[in-house]
């Protein structure tokens, strides 16, 4: 295939990957659930931060997916992993269910590793699986304890609409600022997942590529992301202060975890932290949580199956 043809194919793949990742981005769920902003306002903000994050932070990172698990990566493998992950992300987003991009990627890597009879680092896989199980547990416990702490020292002393309003308004700004920063950095990080495969191929204008990625992330958010945001934001009744309790400690833990190289899942932690919050606050959990848990369990095998089905045609095409 001519170089320009390959570049177009890769560009389409980048768009699909970014679209899939953007579609499963539940960063703004707390803002939606606590009704700090309505969906239209959220979509505008999310679009701005997706494009800004991709343009300003995306360039610095180009990520090699599967590094450390599979040995001897080639283009067909990387593309298969990314496309399988994206398809699974798009499918789950279409069902309005949040999944972990990392776990879909790992599922695809394992599926491909088994298909190719490649050497897999099982120790690494077990380590990742442990974190996969620990992520929701950590999310649950942290948000439960953080709520109790906040309740004992701050919220409990609020008396009447006026003090409640003052308090909730203060949390509105904090939650809004922190979530916008998270969306911005997440866009940069997500962008690297999508762009990574084309960096170094041909003569791509990196800024144009980042802009396309940012737009695709935003497109995913606009088309599919709103459903995921809605379904996560409605897991339990949220106020700005409780959205803060559920989302901020998780953002901090994720940040620290990433810095320490611990592969925590943001989606799993957030969903579990909302459940922990509802338990701590004695508010009911909305129906349908089982669907989210089910899709978490299906992510590994389905991403693996998709990778198995896609590898041979992709390999033949490349």
């Amino acid at each position: 295939m001519a170089l320009s043809g390959i570049l177009i194919v890769f560009l389409v793949i980048v768009i699909i990957i970014a679209f899939g990742i953007g579609g499963n981005d539940e960063t703004f769920a707390g803002i939606y659930g606590s009704r700090i902003l309505n969906m239209k306002q959220i979509m505008i903000l999310a679009t701005i931060f997706a494009i800004a994050g991709a343009l300003l932070l995306g360039e610095a990172v180009s990520k090699t997916v599967g590094k450390g698990i599979l040995v001897n990566l080639d283009d067909a493998i990387v593309i298969t992993i990314l496309i399988s992950t994206s398809i699974w992300l798009i499918l789950s987003s279409a069902l309005q269910l949040p999944i972990s991009t990392t776990h879909a990627t790992i599922g695809a890597v394992i599926g491909l590793g088994i298909t190719l009879n490649a050497s897999l680092d099982w120790f690494k896989i077990i380590e990742l699986s442990i974190w996969w199980i620990l992520s929701p547990i950590i999310g649950y416990i942290v948000s439960f304890l953080f709520f109790k702490l906040m309740h004992a020292y701050k919220v409990k002393h609020l008396n009447g609409f006026q003090s409640l309003e003052k308090n909730e308004k203060a949390f509105t700004y904090i939650v809004l600022i922190v979530i916008c920063i998270t969306a911005f950095s997440r866009a940069g990080n997500d962008c690297s997942n999508a762009v990574g495969i084309v960096v170094g191929i041909g003569d791509f204008q990196i800024n144009l590529l980042l802009l396309i990625t940012g737009l695709s992330l935003a497109g995913g958010l606009l088309v599919l992301g709103r459903g995921v945001i809605k379904s996560v934001g409605r897991i339990t009744e949220l106020y700005p202060s409780t959205a803060f309790t559920a989302q901020i400690p998780i953002a901090v833990i994720l940040f620290v975890g990433t810095a320490l190289g611990i592969p925590l899942s943001g989606s799993h932690m957030l969903v579990a932290s909302l459940v922990g919050l509802s338990k701590a606050n004695h508010t009911p959990i909305k129906k349908g949580l089982w669907k989210i848990v089910l899709i978490w369990f299906l992510t590994f095998p389905m991403a693996g199956l998709l990778a198995f089905l896609l590898y041979f045609p992709i390999n033949a095409a490349i």
């Binding site: 919220v155 609020l158 008396n159 009447g160 609409f161 309003e165 909730e168 308004k169 106020y239 508010t283």
Partner: protein, 215 residues
Amino acid sequence: MKFKKDKRSKLLNAAKDFHTEVLKGSDLLHECINDLIDRKLNKNKLEEVIQCEQKADQAKENYINILYKDKRALPFLVEDRYRMIKYLDIVSDNSEELARGLKVYPYELFDDIKSDMKTINDLYQETIESLVEMVNLMEMDFKTAYQKSFHIETLKRSAREAKYKILGLIYQKLQEKSLRVYLTSKICIKIFDMIVRAEEISDFLRSLIVKYPSK
């Protein structure tokens, strides 16, 4: 900062105006029922109850306008305040309804039910006063508002006893005109229904206190 304070005081003043009109209407109705018991029912006073409902409606509209004008207000608080307005408006509507009923009531009350009618009427006034007080307390003091709701529940129980005492006496009057029996029992039932409605509203307010994270 000053602008924010102005907005808040505007909202609170609008709420106060609305609550005052609701309370005025129920106080006047209480007086009218006492007049009926004492056989000196004044139709002009009943007309004043109806006018109070109209004034309460105007105050309500003003309150709602101010409430929805604040674009930075938290949506859940706007909704809850709006529900409170709607429920208090029902209290005011009910007062008007009974006032209109009393205007066309063609009989005197039976002598033997007078003391219990007075009891249920006083309970009605106390319930509405407590409810309006509870609504005001919702702004500044959830704890006292929460306790107030239990007081309203106690008032309803006492009112229920008074109601059945009155009905028990009325239903034995087989020799009286059935229309008089029916209409008199209707007055008693209507007063009790207003108390029940007030208690339902206080239950709703209690559920608001419980649902907020500060519970």
